[in-house]
Amino acid sequence: MIELRQYAWGEVHRPEATSAPVRVYVWELPVRVSHWFIFLPIVVLSFTGYYMHNPFIVAKGGTTFMMATMRFIHVVSGFVFIAAFLLRMYWFFQGNSWSNWRAFLPLRRRQWRGMGNMVAYYSFLRKDLVHHVGHNALAAVTYLLMFTFMLIEILTGLALYSQVRGGSVLPVLIGWLPRLIDIQHIRLLHFCIMFSFFAFVIHHVYSAVLVSWEERNGLIESIFTGYKFVPGDELEEDAAVRKAD
């Protein structure tokens, strides 16, 4: 007889698990590294970027270099962000089946059904959550949207930076954008998308906690360690579904 509390799902109100948990390496190192090196620069970029929009700290005399320092930090963390973003894009093609691009693009009916299930769960039309080893389909398209927003931030940011920086390489790479959209509207877009990151982070942390609570599989810890603890039959089912694709 195994102690009731030994297994995370052992509490009475959980759906019954039928097999023992298996320690499975879901998030590979590049996924975790890019996750944190996207998150941390976004925090820094948001703070410095908001200051650059509205300099709420006003220097009073003395030798300060406030705005210039903020802009320097903004630019440096911007390039760290770009590097992490590119690493994640690379891992779309190199990563395992949970971090591969196929897991994100909703090209199969199964994924659309999965999105329906998640919407039903979030809107209280379903009692229980459908468990997933990787991302659920709704989370996947949300991340896809956020990656798109990040790409827009990178492009608009580079366009704004190229206006300041000049040089020969950057204007060639991004010079087409200010010709297409006026620089003020590029700036507005760059600013507005920042708030979508705020909203996303709130929802992302909340849903991670919620799903971790429902699935009891070490989801929160997995973004640090890479490992989840998934019931064996769920893992087998997941593998079978992927093989069928």
Binding site: V12, T64, F124, D182, Q184, R187, M194, Y206
Partner: protein
């Protein structure tokens, strides 16, 4: 008057402009054109030999501000040399002739100097309803522009209205106004944006044309790079205050009196390219930021639409009123998501309590 075969140096000597003043003018022009100083001699030599080109100045949907700007340039050398540099055959604001005689003079230039004269256009050209919203002597501005600019060696679009439609084209643009480039697609146009254009730049373009026989290097909007190649912000005398983080918070406050940066007052210097801070106005006396007012970005493409509101950093978000800023909308959305998350969290906890208990039997190892 036509054709004038007089050389420029002869004309200047007649006017009593001595050699020293002439070389000073050439030096100023070389500096404006961002050329190395060794070009002064070349410019002076070319201008001395140059035959005075014929110039016609057309005015369409305009406020005459660009004409005022060039006429009011108190800089004696610029005024005299620019006016004497060219044989001005037609300029509605200042010409003595009127009516059919004036129109005949214009017609004569187009006929006799075809492909050789320079046209300056001031003001936008309305295209709506066949161009009826601006007619001169019974002809539409569109018709005159096609006729004159199509025959000119080069057309200078003086000011924003002639460049991109300017104020006249600003939303909602009831007359369908456009700039000269759009109205006469075949014309060889150099755009001198700005509201108004700076006479020093106009003179520099003419000097370049007379010296080198071609128009200066231009950017994607066909504006000369020497005047529109650098950001105002990078040439601004208040830049040190920007870098230091010293900002004017409201008009007339301590920072404003001390000449701090006008960034928070909506200055568009960081978003505008122009040589305004170095060439300046009224004899190089001042320019807007020096006078204590933020830059409106008047030399930027379609600035009435793209650079407004003039006293805010960012444009307003479409679909929201003019009083709602992008920051307020963003913070509102963020707060709404945070609030919805709290409510959803409570509801999820309630759902958790309401779920039927499953069997407490633990699983056995598979």
């Amino acid at each position: 008057m036509l054709p004038s075969n007089q050389t420029l140096s002869g004309a200047l000597q007649q006017k009593g402009v001595n050699r020293r003043r002439f070389v000073k003018f050439c030096t100023a022009m070389v500096a404006t054109l961002a050329l190395p100083p060794r070009y002064v001699a070349q410019v002076a030599a070319a201008l001395e030999k140059a035959r005075k080109p014929v110039l016609v100045w057309l005015q369409f949907q305009d406020c005459a501000g660009n004409s005022e700007s060039i006429l009011r340039s108190s800089h004696p050398s610029v005024l005299e040399v620019v006016l004497d540099l060219l044989s001005w055959e037609y300029h509605e604001l200042v010409m003595a002739g009127a009516g059919h005689q004036a129109e005949a003079a214009l017609e004569r230039v187009v006929r006799e100097e075809k492909g050789k004269f320079i046209a300056v256009v001031e003001g936008a050209i309305p295209l709506a309803d066949g161009g009826v919203y601006c007619t001169i002597g019974g002809r539409t501005a569109w018709d005159i522009a096609r006729h004159v600019c199509g025959s000119a060696a080069a057309t200078i679009a003086a000011g924003d209205c002639a460049w991109d439609g300017g104020l006249v084209r600003a939303n909602p643009n009831p007359t369908g106004a456009v700039g000269i480039e759009e109205a006469v697609p075949g014309a060889k146009v150099i755009n001198l944006g700005g509201c108004p254009q700076n006479p020093a730049n106009t003179a520099a373009v003419l000097v370049h044309y007379l010296t080198f026989g071609e128009l200066p290097a231009m950017d994607q909007f066909n504006r000369p790079l020497f005047a529109y190649g650098r950001i105002i912000h990078d040439q601004c005398e208040r830049r040190a205050n920007y870098d230091a983080g010293r900002f004017v918070q409201e008009w007339g406050d301590e920072g404003h009196r001390k000449g701090w940066c006008l960034y928070k007052m909506g200055c568009k210097g960081p978003q505008a390219t122009f040589n305004c801070p170095s060439v300046r106005w009224n004899d190089g006396t001042s320019w807007p930021v020096k006078a204590g007012h933020g830059c409106l970005g008047c030399a930027s493409h379609r600035f009435w639409d793209t650079r407004s509101p003039f006293y805010d950093r960012l444009p307003t978000v479409p679909g929201f009123g003019a009083d709602v800023t992008a920051g307020e909308i963003g913070l509102g959305v963020t707060a709404a998501v945070a609030g919805a998350t709290v409510i959803h969290g409570i509801a999820s906890a309630v759902r958790d309590r309401m779920r039927p208990p499953a069997s407490p039997e633990p699983p056995t190892k598979a």
